[in-house]
C-alpha cells in the first residue's frame, strides 16, 4: 500500500469512544459501590475488574487499529467458524457456564460471553458473504444465504436463551443486508412474515406474554415482572434536570438489583439528571454519526458494511437498552455499551472501535485500482 493514499484515523470517533468509556467507568463505580460493599464487602469489587478490562480493551483497540481491516475480509470464514464454535460451546456441558438461568457463558481458563465475540464475527461474515455473492452476481442466492445466516445465528443465541442478543443479531443482519443493496421487494417479503412470526411467538409463550403485559402496565405487576422497570422509573424520575448528584442515588442502594449491569442508565438518570441522559444519548449519536461517516467515505463495500455493522451494533444495543430501562420496550436483559459492567463487553466494543479507526484511515481502493 502506498503511504500517500492513507488518510488520518478518525480522531473524533476515538474521542467519543474514550469519553463513553470514561463516563462508563465512573458510573459503574458509583452504581456498583453499595452493592459491592454489601455483597462482597469491597466497594471497588466491580470497578477494579472493569478498569482492567477497559485497559485491555484500549490496548486491543490500538493494536487492531493498526491491522488492515482487509485481513478480516481474508479471514472472514475462519473468524466466523471460530465464533460459531465458541457460540456452540455454550451448549457443551462442562465448558458452558450458567448464570441466572442462562447458558450464555463459557469457561476456557477464563469466563466470557461468546455472543459478544460472535456479534463481531457475524458482522464480518455478513459483509463478506454479501460482497462474495455480489462478485458472483447472484443477488437472490446471496440474499437468501444472508437471511439464513442471520436467522440461524439468532436462533442459536435465542436458544441459550439470550433473547436480546438474538434480537440485536437479527436487526444488525437486516441493516447490513439492506445497506448491502438488497432489493426492497425481497426485504418486504421477508420482514413481514418474520415480524408476524415473532409477534405470534411472543403471545404463545406465557413468560413472554407476562413480560409484555408488564411492559404495558408495569405497576400492575410490581413484585416480579414489573419490579425492575418500576424501580428504574423511580430512579429516572427522581433525577430531574440536574440529578441528585453523582454518588447520591438511593435507588441503587436497595431497589435496583445489580445496578451496575443492565439498569445502569437509570442510575445515570437519577444521579446526573436529564443533563446526564442527554450527554449519554448525544455521545452515542456522535458515535453513530462518525461511524456512518466512516462507512460512507469508505470506498470498499466490505469496509462500508463492516463499519456500518459495528456502528449499528453499538447504537442499536444502546438504544434498546435505554428503551428497556425507560419501559419503552418489554424488559429483556441487555447491556448498555461502555456502561454496563462486564469485561467481554467493554473489550469487544473497544476492539470494534479499533476496527472503525482502521477503516477510517484506509486509502480509497477504487481510486487506486483505477489509477
Amino acid at each position: 500500500m502506498k503511504s500517500n493514499g492513507k488518510k488520518k484515523a478518525d480522531f473524533l470517533i476515538l474521542l467519543f469512544a474514550l469519553a463513553l468509556t470514561a463516563l462508563g467507568l465512573l458510573m459503574i463505580f458509583s452504581a456498583s459501590a453499595p452493592y459491592a460493599k454489601s455483597r462482597f464487602g469491597d466497594i471497588y469489587y466491580f470497578i477494579k475488574d472493569q478498569m482492567v478490562a477497559a485497559l485491555i480493551g484500549i490496548t486491543v483497540m490500538m493494536i487492531v487499529s493498526l491491522l488492515n481491516y482487509d485481513l478480516f475480509r481474508k479471514f472472514a470464514w475462519f473468524i466466523f467458524a471460530g465464533g460459531l464454535v465458541l457460540l456452540l460451546l455454550t451448549y457443551v456441558p462442562g465448558i458452558s457456564v450458567e448464570h441466572n438461568d442462562a447458558r450464555r457463558w463459557i469457561n476456557i481458563g477464563f469466563e466470557f460471553q461468546p455472543s459478544e465475540l460472535y456479534k463481531l464475527a457475524f458482522i464480518i461474515f455478513m459483509a463478506r458473504i454479501i460482497i462474495y455473492f455480489k462478485e458472483k452476481q447472484k443477488p437472490l442466492i446471496g440474499y437468501i444465504t444472508a437471511i439464513v445466516i442471520t436467522l440461524g445465528s439468532a436462533f442459536i443465541i435465542y436458544k441459550q436463551p439470550h433473547l436480546s442478543a438474538a434480537v440485536i443479531i437479527t436487526l444488525i443482519g437486516f441493516v447490513i443486508i439492506y445497506a448491502g443493496g438488497a432489493k426492497l421487494k425481497y426485504l418486504i417479503i421477508t420482514v413481514v412474515p418474520v415480524t408476524a412470526l415473532a409477534a405470534v411467538g411472543a403471545f404463545t409463550y406465557d413468560y413472554m406474554k407476562d413480560r409484555i403485559m408488564a411492559w404495558i402496565d408495569p405497576f400492575a405487576y410490581p413484585s416480579v415482572e414489573g419490579y425492575q422497570v418500576i424501580q428504574s422509573l423511580y430512579a429516572i424520575a427522581s433525577g430531574g434536570l440536574f440529578g441528585v448528584g453523582l454518588g447520591k442515588s438511593t435507588q441503587k442502594f436497595l431497589y435496583i438489583p445489580e445496578p451496575q449491569n443492565d439498569f445502569i442508565f437509570s442510575i445515570i438518570a437519577e444521579e446526573l439528571g436529564y443533563i446526564g441522559v442527554f450527554l449519554v444519548i448525544t455521545l452515542f449519536c456522535m458515535l453513530l454519526w462518525r461511524g456512518i461517516r466512516i462507512a460512507i467515505f469508505c470506498e470498499d463495500l466490505f469496509g462500508t458494511l463492516l463499519a456500518l455493522g459495528i456502528t449499528s451494533l453499538i447504537f442499536v444495543q444502546a438504544a434498546l437498552n435505554i428503551a428497556v430501562v425507560t419501559g419503552l420496550v418489554p424488559n429483556t436483559g441487555i447491556a448498555l455499551p461502555f456502561f454496563s459492567a462486564g469485561g467481554t463487553s467493554i473489550v469487544m466494543f473497544l476492539t470494534e472501535i479499533g476496527i472503525l479507526l482502521n477503516i477510517s484511515k484506509q486509502p480509497e481502493k477504487k481510486r487506486e485500482l483505477k489509477a
Partner: protein, 736 residues
C-alpha cells in the same frame, strides 16, 4: 486483458464498492437511528419532567416504608450500674424467591433444608415461602450474629443468590428472668410492651430518623453516604433503683419459701428504701425469662402454642406476666394493725401503757374474738396487745378513732389511690363504698378489704421514715448517651401522714413485735428488725395469704421488706411461720449487701461481733447462742445438768470481740431452794402477782396499782430468793 474482461472486472469492482445506493441507504439508516434516539431522549425527558411528580410520590412512599433509620433503644441499668436491658445487634434474614429459584447449582429444597438447619425453622413453611412467586419473603428475624454468620458462610460457599441479611436490633436481658416484672420487655419493633420498658418507652425508644431522597444536599464527604437524612435520636438510658444483687437474693428466698410452704399461687417480695420508697427489688413468682417472654408457662400444655395468639397472650397475662406486687390485691390481715396503731397514737387515743383487754367484742351482733380464743390474754397494756396481736383491742381502738377519721387515715396512707409507681396496671384497692362501724371494726385488724402490696410498702415506709408517704419509684435517673441527666427522679412526698413522734414510737413498738411478739421468726441477730406478720383468709376455703412486713434497722430504717406467700399448703399458713422466717433471711442478706453494720457498729461486721448476754441462760442455750455468733466458749465450773446456769461471763455482754473469740462462762448449779425462776406476769392483776412472787419467796417493789405491765427481770430468769423485784402496775383505764 481484453475489453470484455476489463468491463466485467469494472462491473465487479462497481458491485463491491460503496455505490450510490449504499450511501443513500446509509443516510436513511442514520436518519432512522437519529429518529429513534430522539424518541428515547424525548421519552426519558417525559419521565423526568412530566411523569416524575407521580412517580416521585410512589417512590417516596416505597422508600419511606423501608428507609427509616432506627433509633437505638436506651439501656436499662440497676442502681449499681449493671445492665438489665440492652439493645444488641441482630440480623433479619429474608429471601427473594424469584431470584432464589434461579440458582442452578443448588435447588430450592436444598436451600430450604440448609436454612432450616441453621435457623432451626420448620422446613415445610420455609419451603412454601421460598417456592412462592414473590420478590420478598421474611425468613427469620432477630437472628443472632453467630447464626447469621453461618448463613453468610452458606451463601458464600454455595454462591446462593437471593438470600439477604439485614441488620436489626434486639433487646437482650443479661439477667434473664431477674426482675422480669419490673424491667419488662419489648415487641418485635422494639416498642415497650411491659414493665419499665413500657412505662418509660417514650424515653427509651428515641426517635427514628428518615432518609429523604428528594432533597438535594451538597457537600458530600463520603460519596456513598445518604446525605439527605434526618438522623435518628437514640433513646435515653434509664438508671433504675433496682439492685440486682438484692433482687437475686429476694428471688432465691421467694422460690425457697414457695417450695417449703407448697404455695399454689406464688409469692411476692418487695424491698424498698424506707426513706425514699425507691424499690430495690420487686419479686413476683411465678416469673418468666425476659429473653423468652412468650414461652409456654410451666405446668401448661397447650396445642399450637405460639405465645402470640390472643388466648396465649391472655394466659401469659394471667400467669407469669402478672406482677402480683402491684396488680393483685390482698387482705393485709394483722400487718394492718400497725396502721390502726398509728392512727390511735397520732390521735392520742391510747398510750403504750394504756391498759386494755382482749375480751370478745360485739359489733352489730357480730362477735369478734382474739385469735387466741381459748386462752385470751385478758387485761394487758396496749403495747402487749400489739405484741399479742389481739383483735378485739384493735376493734375497740377503732371505735374510739371513729369511722370518719379511720377512713381518712386509710386514704391518707395511700390505700385508696394508686401508689404512683411507674409501672402500669396497678390493682385497685377494694373498700366498702360506705363503710359501717362493723366494716371498720373488721378493717381495724386488716380484714374484709383489699390493697395492693405496693400500697402496703409505701404505708410502712411512712411509719418507718418519720411519717411521710412517698411515691414508690423504680427510676433513679434518665440520662442521655453522653451521660447528661435528663430527668433526675427525686423521691416525691405525697403527704405527711403521721407525726415524727408517732413514727418513732411505732418503730419501737414494731421492733418489740419482732423481739417479743408474734413476729419473732423475723428476728435477725444484730439487726434491729421491726415489723408485723399477717395471715388472712380469702374467699376460697383453706386458701390463706401469709405475710410479713417490716423494716430495719428499727432506729434508723434503711429497707422495708414485704414478703407475701399466697395459698401456702404446707404445715402452717400463719404469717409467722410462712413469711417471717423468709423475711428474716431477706433482711439479713440484703442488709449485708447494703453494708449496714449489725447493731450499728462502726467496725468491720465480718470479723468482729458483739458479745451477747448469757447471764441466766442454761449452758445448753448459752452454747447455742455463742455458736450462732461464731464464737467459742470455755466453761468454768459445773457443766452437767439441765439447771446449770451461767452466773457470769467474760467478756461481758456488749463487748466487741473478734469472731472465733472465746467467751469464758462461769456456771453454778442453782439451788432450787435458793434460786427461783421469774414467771410470766405481764397483764396479771396486782394481787395475783404479789401472791405468786411471795409464794416463790421473792419481794416486791411495786409501782402503781392495777395490772402488771412490766417486770424488772424477764420471765424465765433465775433470781435468788429474797430478791426485790421491781414491778409496775397500771389500772386498766380502758374498758369497753
Amino acid at each position: 486483458m481484453d475489453k470484455k474482461e476489463k468491463s466485467k472486472k469494472t462491473e465487479n469492482i462497481e458491485n463491491t464498492t460503496n455505490n450510490t445506493l449504499t450511501r443513500k441507504r446509509l443516510l436513511i439508516l442514520m436518519a432512522v437511528f437519529i429518529f429513534i434516539a430522539m424518541i428515547i431522549a424525548g421519552y426519558t425527558g417525559y419521565i423526568q419532567f412530566v411523569w416524575a411528580n407521580e412517580l416521585k410520590v410512589k417512590s417516596y412512599e416505597q422508600q419511606n416504608q423501608d428507609r427509616t433509620i432506627k433509633a437505638s433503644r436506651g439501656t436499662i441499668y440497676d442502681s449499681q450500674g449493671r445492665i438489665l436491658a440492652i439493645s444488641i445487634s441482630v440480623d433479619t434474614i429474608s429471601a427473594s424467591p424469584v431470584i432464589l429459584q434461579k440458582n442452578k447449582n443448588i435447588t430450592v429444597e436444598e436451600i430450604a433444608q440448609e436454612l432450616c438447619l441453621i435457623l432451626k425453622l420448620n422446613y415445610e413453611s420455609v419451603l412454601t415461602k421460598l417456592m412462592s412467586q414473590s420478590q420478598y419473603q421474611l425468613i427469620a428475624s432477630k437472628v443472632d450474629k453467630n447464626t447469621s454468620e453461618l448463613v453468610k458462610e452458606f451463601i458464600k460457599k454455595q454462591a446462593v443468590a437471593g438470600i439477604y441479611i439485614q441488620q436489626d436490633s434486639k433487646r437482650y436481658y443479661p439477667f434473664g428472668s431477674l426482675a422480669a416484672h419490673a424491667i419488662g420487655f419489648t415487641g418485635d419493633d422494639n416498642q415497650g410492651l411491659f414493665g419499665l420498658e413500657l412505662a418509660l418507652d417514650e424515653y427509651l425508644s428515641g426517635t427514628d430518623g428518615k432518609i429523604l431522597t428528594e432533597l438535594d444536599v451538597g457537600g458530600t464527604e463520603l460519596p456513598f453516604a445518604f446525605e439527605s437524612r434526618i438522623e435518628a435520636v437514640d433513646g435515653y438510658d434509664v438508671i433504675t433503683t433496682l439492685n440486682a444483687d438484692i433482687q437475686r437474693i429476694a428471688e432465691n428466698i421467694v422460690k425457697q419459701a414457695i417450695e417449703d410452704n407448697k404455695s399454689k399461687d406464688g409469692a411476692v417480695c418487695i424491698i424498698s428504701n424506707s426513706k425514699t420508697s425507691e424499690i430495690l427489688a420487686m419479686v413476683s413468682e411465678p416469673g418468666f425469662d425476659l429473653n423468652l417472654p412468650r414461652a409456654l408457662p410451666k405446668g401448661y400444655t397447650i396445642d399450637g402454642w405460639t405465645g402470640l395468639r390472643n388466648t396465649d397472650v391472655e394466659l401469659l397475662y394471667s400467669t407469669v406476666w402478672r406482677n402480683k406486687a402491684i396488680m393483685d390485691t390482698y387482705e393485709p390481715g394483722s400487718t394492718f394493725k400497725s396502721i390502726t396503731t398509728a392512727m390511735a397514737l397520732e390521735e392520742d387515743i391510747v398510750e403504750l401503757d394504756t391498759i386494755v383487754d382482749d375480751l370478745p367484742v360485739t359489733v352489730f351482733g357480730a362477735v369478734i374474738h382474739c385469735w387466741s380464743k381459748e386462752y385470751p390474754h385478758g387485761t394487758e397494756t396496749f403495747l402487749q396487745a400489739v405484741y399479742n396481736s389481739c383483735n378485739p383491742v384493735f376493734v375497740k381502738i377503732s371505735h374510739l378513732i371513729g369511722v370518719k377519721t379511720f377512713y381518712e387515715y386509710v386514704e391518707s396512707f395511700g390505700f385508696r389511690d394508686n401508689s404512683g409507681i411507674e409501672l402500669q396496671g396497678e390493682g385497685k384497692s377494694i373498700f366498702h363504698d360506705v363503710p359501717t362501724k362493723l366494716d371498720m371494726s373488721v378493717a381495724s385488724f386488716g380484714q374484709r378489704f383489699q390493697i395492693t402490696p405496693i400500697q402496703m410498702v409505701a404505708a410502712y415506709n411512712a411509719i418507718a421514715n418519720g411519717g411521710f408517704l412517698i411515691k414508690p419509684s423504680l427510676t433513679d435517673a434518665i440520662v442521655d448517651k453522653q451521660g447528661n441527666v435528663i430527668y433526675d427522679y427525686e423521691p416525691q412526698t405525697v403527704r405527711q401522714v403521721i407525726s415524727k413522734e408517732t413514727s418513732d414510737e411505732l418503730r419501737g413498738i414494731l421492733e418489740g413485735v419482732v423481739t417479743e411478739g408474734g413476729a419473732k421468726n423475723a428476728y435477725v441477730e444484730g439487726y434491729r428488725v421491726a415489723g408485723k406478720t399477717g395471715t388472712s383468709e380469702t374467699i376460697v376455703d383453706d386458701v390463706y395469704v401469709s405475710s410479713f412486713i417490716g423494716f430495719a434497722p428499727a432506729d434508723n430504717p434503711v429497707i422495708t421488706v414485704l414478703f407475701i406467700v399466697f395459698n401456702p399448703q404446707g404445715d402452717s399458713y400463719y404469717g409467722s411461720q410462712v413469711a417471717a422466717p423468709y423475711a428474716k433471711m431477706v433482711f439479713e442478706q440484703a442488709l449485708e449487701v447494703l453494708s449496714v453494720e449489725r447493731q450499728g457498729s462502726a467496725g468491720n461486721s465480718k470479723n468482729s461481733v458483739y458479745v451477747p448476754n448469757l447471764n441466766g441462760y442454761n449452758v445448753e442455750k448459752a452454747a447455742q447462742k455463742i455458736v450462732s455468733y461464731g464464737l467459742n466458749y470455755e466453761i468454768e465450773g459445773s457443766t452437767a445438768g439441765e439447771d446449770v446456769t451461767i452466773m457470769y461471763q467474760y467478756p461481758e455482754s456488749g463487748t466487741k470481740i473478734a469472731k472465733d473469740g472465746v467467751i469464758i462462762l462461769y456456771t453454778y448449779v442453782p439451788d432450787s431452794k435458793m434460786t427461783v425462776r421469774i414467771p410470766y406476769l405481764v397483764g396479771k392483776e396486782k394481787s395475783y402477782v404479789i401472791k405468786t412472787l411471795k409464794d416463790l419467796g421473792l419481794n416486791i417493789n411495786s409501782d402503781g396499782d392495777g395490772s402488771c405491765i412490766s417486770v424488772q427481770y424477764p420471765a424465765g430468769t433465775y433470781v435468788e430468793k429474797g430478791t426485790i423485784v421491781d414491778i409496775t402496775f397500771r389500772f386498766t383505764d380502758y374498758l369497753d
